[in-house]
Amino acid sequence: MTGVAQNNRILPPPMAGFESVKRYWDNAMAISTAKLMPGEVYVSGEDEMIMTVLGSCVSACIRNPRTNIGGMNHFMLPQMGASASMLTLDGTAARYGNWAMEVLINEILNYGGSKRDLEVKLFGGGKVLDNMTMDIGKRNIDFVFSFLDKEGINVVAHDVGDRFPRKLLYFPNTGKVRVRKLQSTNQATIVRREAAYLNDIKTSPRDGDIDLF
């Protein structure tokens, strides 16, 4: 497959399965950039940057230093009512988080290596709304740490929680990260986007297909 031309620059071809993630040439950084929206995952072995903006959502940046293949996800667990317990978390709410983590890890390991090779960095989970009845960000953080703990995968760096949204830049083939905490002027857009995502997975769950042979 050939690359994709944009602004006279050739973006490297995306890996199979990640064609739907929006990419562009970042002039300032002079690099092909994938812009990750809530619910998306992107994996690359090219000289690329993955950019996302996190409110209460969480992103895991994972890379295998042996293959230089890495990627990022961006997810949030669905919001639940006051009756939400660990039981419902196991039963349904965790499935998007489990999926986002598993897809990212599997795609990286498809190019070789095992879970113990992985270098993991975690970001996001801010308490960006004062009037939140529950701290959604904290729930997302707790989930991702618990997931990695159960898998026996170490976290080498993290910047989570607090009250700020974050702009995250990740370079999957080197593992470098740049995080910037955003001021409140940007918060409305981020909160709106995350609320739309939450509503979307609530009203039209992104369940996989079932095929009987």
Partner: protein, 120 residues
């Protein structure tokens, strides 16, 4: 009671799958890779095997091939539960003898309905 062997290398995923199956009244045994599942399956009989595809040691496709060699598992329903949507992997699962292909994230009710259908 219907007995299910649930195979997944992800502990978090296994926890969710087991919770879903046990809530519906199934008797569930877990395994964390294909080889362990095969060893367990040889010692006990199951009414259904629900297996992930990408796993270390022995993957799900290899597990299906191995199970189909065993007389007791020739016709046992085997559902693959995976994040894989690629057609070639699915075809490999079908050719190995899997009964069905369920893509994660799974809807618990739909998964249970499918299990009921293939074990009924």
């Amino acid at each position: 009671m219907t007995k299910i062997l649930a195979v997944d290398d992800s502990a978090s995923m296994r926890q969710m799958v087991v919770f879903t199956l046990q809530s519906a009244g199934y008797d569930v045994v877990e395994a964390s890779d294909g080889q362990k599942a095969l060893d367990i399956a040889k010692g006990t009989s199951f009414d259904l095997v629900l297996s992930d595809v990408n796993m270390p040691v022995m993957d799900g496709i290899e597990l299906v091939k191995e199970l189909r060699q065993i007389e007791a598992y020739k016709y046992t329903p085997i559902l693959m539960l995976t994040t894989e949507t690629a057609g070639d992997k699915k075809m490999a699962g079908k050719n190995a003898g899997a009964t069905g292909w369920v893509v994660k994230p799974f809807n618990p009710d739909k998964l249970l309905a499918t299990i009921k259908k293939v074990t009924g």
